[in-house]
Amino acid sequence: MAALSIRALSKRYANLEVLKGIDLDIESGEFTVLVGPSGCGKSTLLNIVAGLDRASDGTIEIGGRVVNDVPPKDRDIAMVFQSYALYPSMTVRQNITFGMECRGVAKAEQEKALANVARLLQIEPLLGRKPSQLSGGQRQRVAMGRALVRDPLLFLFDEPLSNLDAKLRVEMRMEIKRLHQRIGATIVYVTHDQIEAMTMATRIAVMHRGVVQQFADPDTVYRYPANLFVARFMGSPPMNTMPARLEADGGGAVAVIGAGRPDEVRLHLQGYEAAASYIGREVVLGIRPECVAEGDRVFSGAAGPPVIVTAPVELVEPTGAETIVLLRLGGEPAQARISPDIRPAPGATFSFALDIRRICLFDPETERLIA
């Protein structure tokens, strides 16, 4: 059953179109992450789903029921806000039970639900405290408790981790994922952080300029980005993209980077039949930084030895876990992720292994994925 169906949804403020015909179907039990840069409309979309904002056009169905004109409290949803939005004058206990109090749930039942949630989130010792006496992580937990206690059809998370420091963010990320696995809730989660999207989602909707660019599971979004925007947005460092020329070579195709230059790079592509009509034309070639590594790297699952190219190194950024190298492939800038203990000298040339099985080709006009 679809927990949430959004059909041809659009939102206009005066002459500004924030959402342009959004269509999404979210199955029950899914963890959907809406990800995109700020201003892409993802928070507006969430607010419309919650009923805090009105759609200009289109319909929203929650649990098979059209809810366009249903007030937020009757939509069977719960929401966790970026600022936590805990009621400052109430204790943790009151914060969690306030919704049940508004709905007129019996006291005994409230207590039972509160006890369950407090145990699940391990916030029992905090129940008597005020939000101002809690740390960021504890507030986050209470905010989740307030959502969980309702046991709704749909959980909405609006950038819930962006106010936490980096370490706590990673912890809470795991905790939310674990919580999802345990209770099997349907979650729509908004974030601008592509790592959060990749790590937690069962499906990712990448949004840009009020349009869903791609809606697919994390592996597909990462491996086959629907267009150049998704390719450059997902992944850190992002996918290297550079102009290339596609040439025929017997049965297959060759992508030439920096054609005509003395240092041009020729890559023989296998299994890119969909790109056949582009032979003899310019394309945009995308290759993930992890597919560019030191020369003796063996890529997992590779049938033969990798393609080796020698390229000038411009800059070296050791991160501890790996070394990020800025190099020139056929004159085009690209980033490589090599082993942490290897530090090529800037200005010198260095030999790199390329995993060309995972190259993406994009149409330079439409920016869509070709193959």
């Binding site: 007030p71 929401m79 400052p88 508004c102």
Partner: protein, 309 residues
């Protein structure tokens, strides 16, 4: 070596120029501050001293102990003034608080023309109390004000004579004072309402709280530090109220709307009893301290708690 010497002299030179540069600041801040503090403190001490002397028309030395205090406290004038102060203070503070809060909540509903309305409600604050008192004394005067207007419009049974009614006259002061200062309460409350995180209101909406419950349980409880400030400022005004009453009722009819500041004025400048007037003034100061000291303690505790959190 020369290098060292030149760098060593540089800070000295810049320190002098720094002082010259900051001289206007010192003159602007410290001179008036010291002058007014000296004024305030020396005259307060002088008044306290006078209150223990047998001074009448002119200040004289001598010691009469608490005699002035006893006679002021025993006088009917002071007793009425004190009862009036209690009634006026409580009624005025509560009513201006609720009026201000109500106006702030209504203005907070994202209405059109908010800026214009806000200015209108705040405007009375810019008017002097004497003007407020005079205008309201005309409005409330049965012969020329609201009652006359109602009669002229044909509602001849309309009766509104609070200004000349012994029992109700104090309420005319309450009305005028609320008209004057509820805008101030409104401005502070509005600022408080605007500072409430909009996500909290959204959360309450999702939790299913209606507007009344949202205000009562979620928003208003966050306003109580502002409420305390408003109460203290208004109480301060109520205790030292003079010009408004003097222009509106001048303590009348009879002494029905007498307030402590009027008693002080009456004793000092109309009955020429400096000692008793000073005693009444010191009593007023004590009432003020009874309000301000707990407030100062409360603020101190709050700041300490905030620093710890």
């Amino acid at each position: 070596m020369t290098e060292l010497v030149s760098t060593a002299t540089r800070p000295g030179r810049s320190a002098t120029s720094e002082m010259v540069r900051r001289l206007p600041e010192f003159l602007m801040i410290w001179v008036p501050l010291l002058l007014s503090a000296a004024h305030l403190i020396s005259f307060s001490i002088w008044t306290i001293w006078i209150s223990f002397t047998p001074s009448t028309l002119v200040p004289v030395t001598g010691w009469v102990g608490l005699r002035n205090y006893n006679s002021v406290l025993a006088s009917r004038n002071w007793q009425i003034a004190f009862d009036n102060l209690l009634l006026f203070g409580i009624a005025f503070v509560l009513l201006s608080l609720t009026t201000g809060l109500l106006l702030a909540i209504l203005l907070d509903q994202r209405i059109r023309g908010e800026n214009v309305l806000r200015t209108i409600f705040l405007y009375p604050l810019a008017v002097s109390f004497v003007v407020t008192g005079t205008v309201w004394s005309w409005l409330l005067n049965p012969g020329i004000g609201i009652e006359k207007l109602a009669h002229d419009l044909g509602w001849t049974s309309f009766h509104f004579d609070w200004l000349v009614n012994r029992d109700m006259a104090i309420w005319t002061i309450v009305i005028a004072a609320i008209w004057q200062s509820s805008g101030f309460a409104m401005a502070l409350f509005l600022a408080g309402l605007r500072s409430v995180d909009s996500d909290i209101i959204k959360a309450a909406q999702i939790d299913g709280a209606g507007p009344v419950r949202t205000y009562w349980r979620v928003i208003l409880p966050t306003l109580w530090p502002i409420t305390v400030t408003v109460v203290v400022v208004q109480l301060q005004f109520a205790i030292s109220a003079f010009d408004l009453v003097r222009a509106l009722t001048n303590g009348g009819p009879g002494i029905a709307t007498q307030l402590p500041a009027l008693v002080v004025y009456d004793l000092m400048f109309q009955r020429s009893q400096l000692g008793r007037g000073a005693a009444a003034a010191v009593l007023m100061l004590l009432i003020l301290l009874a309000v301000l000291l707990p407030y100062a303690a409360w603020r101190y505790v709050r700041q300490r708690r905030a620093a710890h959190a």
